[in-house]
């Protein structure tokens, strides 16, 4: 169905090829997962499938691609659009019209498809993606998952044989991501549609994937690098960073590697648990909360209560994860803390000093806030300048609490100090934004969904940085849907629902929740283990004894 033959592609103004000597084959009807770190060329590979590369991007290309007997390089993306449906990361960025049905019809109208035929096709995709009840809805009233399903429906309107998706779930909460994924699996299983999809959270896709393509990180010396392609279990053995369940399976020599908790249970049942993690007692969890306190916080917007009597405390050096479904009030709470929203009732104090009446700019000298879109912070010409701008805003340029060069070194950005921030990878841009909000040495750090769109390596780097800050006594309040991140990094978890705290306790509390439990916790229930390290520490004794 799809053949890459020694394909090498270099973007204009770049000396390094984005794809080097790629040769691979994809059979019809396969569900293909494309993985690899940021900057490895995953999106470029997808864009070769419909000719966006090189037609839209320019650059030089050698080798060949064939898609169902067509040559995307010769025929171009407009012709290939009948064969390859393409869905981008941000659904909103690809909408032309404002209502569901109109958006799906747009491409068909421009393709001069007769109205009767058009009606049949639109009904077909609306039903396929469960969008029929939403057909007249304005797009801006839909949830993220619903918008992404509309984008998929629009891409399927031409009845393509291949559906290509570039990180379609990276902007979505777990529930919405699950809805989108379910729709894709149905399209693949019931319709035989070939699906090629890029995703960082492999654990979501692996159970459904027939084929895994791994693009390794770009080489430093410019040597050609091999693309790994084949059955997921074969390829995963050669990859460094994998989902927790796979990592555990690799460490313990489980064969075949489990992709789902159900598959993992077969092996877990045979493992003898010798070293269960002691449960954190209530007494232990009640520690000196003195850094940051929220008392009885209420916030309403348009007569709707968003926050209802929130109580929350963060100790120095403590990382508190704030979790909950979309719309539960997590981001609103962070905005109330930094003064972007003014609560109607309640008290917020940092080291006993009230933040309620203070200006945002003054609060943010001691509270670092990283919003969901780090790009919104970046506007300077260089990475180093971004840090200087914050210092200047706060009047701290002459006596910076931390030298910008030292902070850049800590963030691993020293070599990029003179680079234009927006040219960097997602993970690097996020670290620049972190630098821009922490150069004042805040005592409290607020992070809103910091792992969205990050690969495993960038996530690991973020955890390392947070641990360093915690060691210095900085309190961290982290809003996230990423249960694996919480399992790795959090000291305490607060669950929010409809503007109220409904649970507050140690991360082990998550093991009881089917919605929030990490893979390892679901694999070894009752042990209190959350991470691969916990499990290995608990099972290692048995391995050593056996030896």
């Amino acid at each position: 169905m799809i053949h890459f033959d020694h394909l090498t592609y270099t973007y204009p103004d770049s000396s390094q090829p984005a794809l080097a000597d790629v040769t691979l084959h994809i059979a019809e009807g396969e569900f293909v997962l494309v993985a690899g770190p940021s900057g490895a060329g995953k999106s470029t590979l997808l864009r070769c499938l419909n000719g966006l590369v090189p037609h839209f991007t320019g650059g030089t290309l050698s080798g060949s691609v064939a898609v169902a007997g067509h040559d995307p390089v010769a025929e171009g993306p407009q012709v290939l659009s009948r064969l390859v449906g393409f869905v981008f990361q941000d659904p909103e960025a690809q909408f032309v019209l404002d209502r569901v049905e109109d958006e799906i019809a747009f491409a068909l109208e421009n393709g001069a498809i007769p109205p009767t035929e058009m009606r049949v096709r639109i009904e077909e995709v609306l039903n396929l993606l469960d969008l029929a009840p939403l057909r007249d809805r304005p797009l801006e009233t839909l949830s993220g998952g619903e918008k992404q399903r509309v984008a998929i429906a629009a891409a399927l309107a031409f009845r393509p044989r291949i559906l290509v998706l570039d990180e379609p779930t990276s902007q979505l909460d777990p529930q919405s991501a699950e809805d989108v994924l379910r729709a894709l699996v149905r399209l693949n299983c019931d319709r035989g549609l070939t699906i090629v999809l890029v995703e960082h959270r492999l654990e979501r896709i692996l159970p459904h994937a027939d084929h895994l393509i791994y693009l390794p990180p770009p080489p430093i010396g410019g040597d050609s690098r091999g693309v790994l392609s084949g059955l997921p279990r074969h390829v995963l053995h050669q990859m460094n960073l994998t989902p927790p369940l796979v990592t555990l399976g690799k460490e313990l020599g489980w064969k075949p590697l489990p992709f789902t908790v159900k598959e993992g249970h077969r092996f877990a049942a045979k493992s003898q648990i010798l070293n269960p993690k002691p449960q954190v007692s209530e007494k232990q969890s009640v520690i000196r909360y003195s850094l940051f306190v929220i008392r009885n916080l209420h916030f309403a917007y348009d007569q709707e209560d968003i926050l209802r009597g929130i109580n929350l405390e963060v100790a120095p050096g403590e990382l508190v994860a704030l979790m909950g479904r979309n719309g539960s009030g997590k981001t609103t709470l962070l905005k109330c803390i930094v003064g972007l929203l003014r609560p109607q009732q309640g008290e917020i104090t940092l080291e006993s000093e009230s933040l309620i009446k203070q200006e945002t700019a003054s609060i943010c000298q001691s509270v670092g806030y990283l919003p969901q879109e780090p790009d919104d912070l970046l506007f300077a010409d260089t990475v180093a300048e971004e840090l200087v701008v914050t210092l200047r805003n706060h009047g701290l340029l002459d006596s910076p609490p931390i030298a910008p060069a030292d902070l850049l070194a800590r963030l691993g950005l020293s070599s990029l100090a003179a680079s234009y921030p927006r040219d960097l990878s997602v993970g690097q841009r996020q670290r620049v934004a972190l630098g821009a909000v922490t150069v004042t040495r805040p005592r409290l750090l607020l992070l809103d969904e910091p792992t969205r769109g990050l690969d495993y390596f960038a996530k690991r780097e973020l955890v390392r940085l947070l641990r360093e800050w915690q060691a210095e006594g900085v309190g961290v309040l982290l809003v996230t849907h990423d249960v694996e991140l919480v399992a790795q990094a959090a000291d305490r978890v607060v669950l929010l629902s409809q503007g109220e705290v409904f649970a507050d306790g140690s991360p082990e509390m998550l093991t009881a929740s089917p919605l929030f439990a990490p893979q390892v916790a679901r694999l070894f229930p009752g042990t209190g283990w959350l991470t691969v390290e916990d499990a290995l520490a608990g099972l290692n004794v048995e391995v050593e004894d056996a030896n």
Binding site: L52, S81, D98, G111, M118, C364
Partner: protein, 343 residues
Amino acid sequence: MIDARVWLLWALTTLVAASSTRNPLYAVLLLLVTTVVGIVCAPDQGRQVPLSPLRFAAMAVPLAALFNGLTAHLGHTVLFRLPDWLPLLGGLVTLEALVFGATNGLMLTVIFGGFAVFNQVTPVRDLVKLTPRAFHETGVVLSIALTFIPQTVRSLNRIREAQAVRGHRVRGLRDWLPIVVPLLVSGLERSMGLAEAMVARGYGAVSGRAQPLRTQGLLVVGLLALLGGWLAFLFLPSWKGSAVGMMIVGAVIIVGVVWLAGRAVSHTAYRRHRWTARDTLAVLGCGLTLAVILLPLPLMDRGTLYYSPYPRLTLPIFDPLIGLGLLGLLVPAVITTGGRDER
């Protein structure tokens, strides 16, 4: 659903009505009518207008009153006097001038309200379809611009917040740089992303037949005829008849060329609106209002339309028949309510 063309006619009728009277009583009536139509016809989920007519009125009426009061030194009811040495502002400030200005502000609000309703009730798809086929690409650009506006407003708010948490304060013009740069860059990135998405969805794959040179030549001839006729009409009084003929020929050629060019555009429509009795009723309503405003109908005191507070402020007169005619603009609200009851 009322046809987008009918809504356009409704908005234009509101514009004509507001421009044809200076009577504040009719202005208030028109404002009430547009507000009611907006409330009844604009669905809750419709496109939001960046500024509500009420907020517009709160700005436009006092500003217009102040501007006219300070610059038009006419009228008998003197409130106070500004020193004569003040350029433009120096002189008498009268109640009449303030009232005249406030009425102008009220009229502007009516026009704004009319088009705000039109914007809210017409889906972007229908706006594209209002453009002639020959200008389909322009229609698509218009639709993209309309969907870009709310996205840009959301981006602007997000960026302002993001910069505020870095200690940024907007005090002067230069302080907008950290907000404008990310806004522009994200706008450009979004444009590129959208262009890429449109190409990937086959936009432009079915291009219309290229316009033959003959058609382009005809368009030039039509434009020249229209322009030449107009100039002759203005400057050659003895050639007036021929000039009008030339203008008509030029206009016919242009319309013909646009029609021909439209036929060459390969494009189909998913949903064509079927003309219903409601559309006819709404058109008749607009027709009634236009007739009352523009035609010298018997039994009506058209003089009440041209109310002026000068030279001394008097109470405006309200002709109930003209008021009734203006209620023709209320028809969309009435038929929409009727439609809801049917369901």
